[in-house]
């Protein structure tokens, strides 16, 4: 496990291959739920949301091609940020 600073914010920028609909929003919220000591913030254009809030993430209304910046603070931020980026880039929202 690579060392990571406890207070250093880690950022990942991804371009959504699919809309950020209900399912990936749920996955992000569950990720946030598993890592309560982390804060995972998403920014998409003018909108932003804490990943913990599944409804807030859905309300961003981020569509395919949107650039989303994920900022993670807290322990193991690198790993959590990677996982969040994986969810976003694998966002296979078949039916939302």
């Amino acid at each position: 496990m690579p060392p990571s600073s406890d207070d250093g914010a880690v950022r990942r920028v991804v371009v959504l291959p699919k809309p950020l609909h209900a399912r990936p929003a749920g996955q992000l919220a569950r990720l946030a739920g598993r890592h309560k000591e982390n804060t995972i913030l998403l920014v998409a254009g003018e909108k932003n949301a804490n990943a913990r809030g599944v409804l807030a993430v859905m309300a961003m209304g981020a569509v395919t091609g949107t650039e989303v910046t994920v900022t993670v603070t807290g322990p193991d931020a690198e790993a959590v940020a990677d996982e969040a980026a994986d969810i976003l880039t694998a966002a296979e929202a078949v039916d939302g």
Binding site: A22, G26, G33, G53, V54, L55
Partner: protein, 133 residues
């Protein structure tokens, strides 16, 4: 995040069996494995709520960490209260005032990540203030 205790269960109480079942299916999908049990319609399959169905659903949803009841409208609240009064002291079930779909989604995601009953209820209540877009 221990797996020792079961997750908080959620019961969706609707006047319509189809509405309760559909909402439960949707919410389960989004939450990735929370326990969401529908309690919709009357015993004879009509529109309305059934205390027997609600009570059975609470039993199904209870994994030892409490159960959150989310009603759709009016008499769903009355029926849920009647069941809770009936079970007084023998259940950890709690009725919450929350939007049916959004509240269920928020509660199920919280429950699925191992939150306790207070946190799951709070998630459902907060859904009232969440804008849809």
């Amino acid at each position: 995040m221990t797996e020792g205790l079961g997750l908080v269960g959620i019961v969706l109480i609707s006047h319509s069996a189809a509405l309760a079942e559909g909402a439960a299916e949707l919410v389960q999908q989004i939450s990735g494995g929370a326990t969401v049990v529908p309690a919709g319609g009357t015993e004879d399959g009509g529109l309305g709520t059934s205390t027997d169905r609600i009570e059975a659903a609470i039993e199904d949803a209870d994994a030892g960490s409490g159960v959150l009841l989310i009603p759709d409208l009016g008499s769903a609240v009355l029926s849920a209260r009647a069941v809770l009064a009936d079970l007084a002291g023998e259940t950890t079930a709690r009725l919450v005032d929350a939007p049916f779909v959004e509240g269920a989604v928020a509660a199920a995601v919280a429950a699925g990540s191992g939150a306790d009953l207070d946190a799951v209820a709070a998630a459902a209540e907060e859904a009232r203030d969440a804008a849809k877009f």
